[in-house]
Amino acid sequence: MEYKKLVIALAGNPNAGKTTIFNNITGSRQHVGNYPGVTVEKKEGKITYQGYEITVIDLPGTYGLSGYSPDELVSRNVILKEKPDLIVNVVDASNLERNLYLTSQLKELEVPLLLVLNMADVAEQSNKIDYTLLATLLGIPTVRAVGSKNEGTEEILQQALRSVENERQFPERVVRYRHEIEDELLYLRKQMGAAGQKKLEIAASTESGSAVALTYPSRWLAVKLLENDREITQLIATVHPEMLPDILKSRERIQNLIGDDAETCLVEDRYAFVRGVYHEACKAHAMDRLSVTEKIDSVLLNRALGIPIFLGIMWLLFQLTFALGAPLMDWIDVGVSALAGWVLAQMPEGLLSSLLVDGIIGGVGGVLVFLPNIVLLFLGIALLESTGYMSRAAFVMDGIMHRAGLHGKSFVPMLIGFGCSVPAIMATRTLENPRDRLVTMLVTPLMSCGARLPVYTLLIAAFFSPQAGGNVLFSLYLIGIILAIGMARIFRTYLLPGETEPFVMELPIYRMPTLKYLLIHMWERTWLYLQKAGTLILAMSILMWGLFTFPLTNAQENQFADATQQLESSYAGKVGKAIEPLIKPLGFDWKTGVALVSGLGAKEIVVSTMGTLYSITDSDVLAEEEDHAVQSFAQRVREQSGFTPLVAYVLMLFTLIYVPCLATIAVIKRETNGWKWPLFTVGYTIVLAWVVSFVVYRAGLWLGIGI
């Protein structure tokens, strides 16, 4: 059967339940990606319905369509350039006034619209909504829906087909502005050469350089010119450069006539239109739908209780992610080892078995081992976001985070960073603003993750007394936090300067999340990780395996006598030796260099590499009781390395700061859509690690501490 193709885009405010409606329509047939060139997420789903193959695009949630934020730019560009057949505008019916403001702007894009009044059940408790009148007043067909109960999904699809098949069901209703503005809109349209025309065709070049002609609604163009919209002004400047003074004059006239700037007037008039519609079509009962939320907030945002409750919830999130994840990770470990053992038993020892076992199976294990953390963390985050607590968390923490140049929501990823940087980087998705997100992503690896702990444990056991050990450990965590805050400020000031992003944030009403939403959200993140980051982590693991395995024989083509010799002669060993002059000023020798290179794979490997380098075989250690194992291992490291406590401390510092592991780099690459920021992270962390280590080492030598 031949399907007719149809493209539908969902638009709406954040918290309007757009994603729930999207999930209801598309089920699990979704594809998540990114819009080209920006970190805005693109979600698409495909379904077949009554002879149509419908592609549903979930646009980013926005409050308006000004060109200031990437989300808004992406939304309107998809509408203008990809020309979906229908825009489904999902609104929170219980908060209609503000939600319809976006509707008023979508109307101006003059595309077929369908209004979905979501959360109608909540709205009807406090309001009597006349759906037909609303449709007539707006000139848009409406559908009543309750996304959380999957009500209205069928009606949305049916109405969508009706809207596409029949041209128009309601007489057009244009958002009218006050006459001073209407006069200028007419004037600007005349100047553009579109006096009586609804549409204006403008030749533009695409990113690839080829020329395309795009049609824009001429009235909308005039509105955007009055609003001083950067993108549209530039666009007009390419075809009508002579118009620029006219635009300025238009805005000036409005300022003189009304006494307010054009942008304010336009926003005001849209709200006036929306309020008019709202008050005619909705009659409020006495009940206030906000009262429950207000009661909860009087506790959760209480000046005395707000912070302790927040910390408690964060503790739960951390425990959920890591404590609950630990046994699952152990199972994965056991499973991977069993597989490795089985493969070893099946084939002769050699290069192929080493590649399979140490390279590939080890690499796959390295990808899978993060899965429990990611699944559980995103379950927790989905819960926090869908209930409405996430914005409260930002509200509570912003006072501190803002001072560091971060956003209140940056707290969550940074906290998760103490467990593992990989899910932490992924958790930055809760930050809507790209600059806040990027800065958080760059500094999160400085939070000391769980994989660094074995390095600390070993070196502290070897070089510090049990009494001093606790303080040494604490100082490392503290230095990580201080560096993260300091670097965030520096990045915010020098690397990504500019106006601070607004913190104008809605505190939505509390809601019960649906299980479906939680599961889809969790699955989506997990799949993204496996598909995009996972393959890269695997490739890097194999590369690391190669570095440590080759060459197989020495110059005389003989096998190496033991593992220590092999490692010393491997490419990794050569890298370690090559960087010795660079790390000598920090008190490190080439062996430390090799251990640090191995730490790129995962920080905890630093420990086992040191074991190999100092010829500590597993049997030496395993022969003893578990408790003694660390002790004896530490003792050997102390005897063989010739480190002073100072060098050991500097090594821990360096391990804390330098390049987060390859998995983290892979995730940063995935999240920022390119190699620029992961490479920057590698570079800056190495430089920072070197500088901090150098200062501490020299200061220690000079002061005579720990030598």
């Binding site: 209480n302 912070i307 106006e499 104008v504």
Partner: protein, 73 residues
Amino acid sequence: MRTLKDLRPGEKGRIKMVKGNGPIRRRIMDMGLVPGTELVMERYAPLGDPIEVKNHGFHLSLRKEEADTIILE
């Protein structure tokens, strides 16, 4: 000149104008904080900043520096 920042929890005010320009101002206005709108100051965050206000059926938080650009009648 009284701004939104000067309201104490529980107090009401009506917006006269929003100062400044660019993205922050537009975002504030897009959220419905346009001249003529009546607001209720709800509370300070536990750390004193940001603040929470109630506007036509929903709650909004903004930093004090942003609240200071919203001039009341």
